[in-house]
């Protein structure tokens, strides 16, 4: 990541014109459509069209008067937090096992674990829905969370693997040698060393769950998450500007979390003071 950054900066310094133009074009194509959402969330008109009728913050104010929005937000946070915690914990064990133990066929196993990153969520969504129905489990926030854990686990593992690869297994042996059993070794050595990875994984998995629509659509019951609420509102033209305002906030929040997660994940070991 940081290498790419430096390379990019390097070329900018050299003022490579064509590359510069390409980079701007790339950014424009990537982000211009998304920019329509914040732009029109401040428009006082009901419809998306130019020229913009006028500017207002009214839609943002309206948001807080709708209990349905706050409910959906609460549901999303509850699902997101539980998913982040569960998938990060599972991710820690999986990453540790993958790095520390000689497992035959490790390469294919890692590929298999990361598969949900590229399999369309609709496939998982349908498959899980069939299974949940067959087992007679009622659809609820719990089933959404279960679906999200599947999607989030690869993110957690991919974030944590480098942290485990980045430090010497002898650290853990040294702790055991100094008299700690495996539980204490984990708390006093493993966790502090991989802490940046844990924080990054929590932030990333929370964001993925918070923004996820397809799984939630298939596996949701009567309780709506935020993306489901947005989807429902799209059918009501009068509600559209409020949806744009909500979308802008979600966008901003997700961007912040991912940015933070990547920053922390990349940084060196946090220097914790262990007073024991």
């Amino acid at each position: 990541m940081s290498d790419q950054d430096t390379v990019k900066r390097h070329h900018f310094h050299k003022a490579n014109r064509s590359l510069q133009a390409y980079a701007f074009f790339f950014m424009f194509v990537l982000y211009a459509p998304i920019m329509f959402i914040p732009l029109f969330s401040f428009s006082s008109g009901l419809y998306i069209r130019f020229p913009i009728d006028g500017w207002t913050l009214q839609w943002y104010g309206d948001l807080w008067e709708r209990t349905a929005v706050l409910n959906a937000l609460k549901n999303s946070v509850r699902v997101g937090v539980s998913v982040a915690i569960v998938s990060t914990i599972l991710g820690i064990f999986a990453a540790k096992a993958l790095v520390r133990y000689r497992i035959p066929g490790k390469g294919p196993i890692i590929g298999f674990i990361l598969l949900p990153l590229v399999v369309p969520p609709i496939i998982f969504g349908v498959a899980l829905l069939l299974m949940v129905n067959a087992l007679g489990i009622p659809l609820s926030l719990y089933t959404i969370a279960a679906g999200h854990i599947i999607i989030c686990l690869p993110f957690a593992i991919a974030t944590l693997l480098p942290r485990f690869e980045g430090y010497d297994a002898a650290m853990e042996e040294a702790a055991a040698d100094l008299g700690e059993n495996s539980w204490w070794v984990f708390w006093r050595v493993t966790v502090p060393i991989i802490l940046p990875g844990i924080v990054a994984s929590l932030l990333l998995t929370f964001t993925v769950s918070f923004d996820e629509f397809v799984m939630a659509f298939f596996l949701g019951g009567t309780d709506l998450t935020l993306p489901l609420y947005v989807w429902g509102q799209l059918r009501i033209p009068r509600a559209f500007p409020v949806v744009l305002a909500l979308g802008t906030l979600i966008l901003l929040f997700s961007f912040l979390l991912v940015f933070l997660g990547l920053r922390i994940g990349r940084r060196g070991a946090i220097k914790l003071v262990d007073r024991d």
Binding site: E173, G179, N181, V273
Partner: protein, 367 residues
Amino acid sequence: MTQDETMISVRNIGKRFGSVVAVEDACFDIRRGEFFSLLGASGSGKTTVLRIMAGFEAATSGAIFIDGRQMDAVPPHQRPVNMVFQNYAIFPHLNVADNIGFGLRKLKLDPVERRRRIDEMLELIKLPGFGDRLADQLSGGQRQRVALARALVLQPKVLLLDEPLGALDKQLREQMQVELRALQRSIGVTFVLVTHDQEEALTLSDRIAVMADGRVLQVDTPAGLYERPCSRQVAGFVGNMNFLPARVVSQDGGSARIDVPGLQTTCSISAERLARFGSDISLAIRPERMTLHRERPADQANSVSGVLHDRMYLGERTQFQVALDDRGTTIAVSSSTTVAERLGSIDPGAQVWLSWSEEALIPLGND
């Protein structure tokens, strides 16, 4: 050796990793308070033996006793041994004081006592006032000392050290050797050191186990290994050695005589040793056990002539290469430079004589 004197007893230890045999039938005892070294080339199984002692690897066969207690089922955190790791494994998230105090948690000391013990250790490793530094603010030698202190603060019965000086430069390594030896003497803890550096093993150890290909070849004092190597492999690994072809000429009762054509001499060997070597034997002699002469020595029966090939000045010592009169065997002779200077300058190609005393000849098997 009585039970009381033995600290570690290694009984027929074997270890395989899949099809790789890392250690085979290792068997030796380490005495209480001894500085013991495992010496061998890379891949000879030294680290594996040490890790079996620490409990990080389970032996495939055999048993280990530490202070009279069988260790097979005892996990690493309950063994009365501590280890200094090859790359020191200093915890990066803790400062020096907390690294040293890491193992003290279980003793439930009050903070004042904990601090006192840590300071005592910092004093011992000559790093007072370094308690607040982080691992990445230490030099290689300082890390090594912190690793030592971290292990010794727990007052282990045995300290295991895996190539602790391997990462240091030559000068620092020699200084640390002196300190390590002095430290071991002063605290009296049994040290088990793994090294591939024969000089380090010779200078530091009370006794040494020489390993090759997973087997323990010989366990002896430095002098014992040097003067009485039990096999050609050991002789070649510890110090420099000349090997000459030899054959058995006569055998009667308790002893046999072997002929060494290169030196135009014979020497005797006990029948018992000969039985161990088989008929395929050679003769070994240390370069410094030979004396170089310009004239034929009058008073020495054991002498041979040859042609000087080369002369190398090594500082304190000077080494000569001499081609013997037979089929061109070349022999290394080493003498102190002051003695060599008394010989005056000898040009390569000049005829010289070599002499030795019979005790210097070591018959060995050709395994």
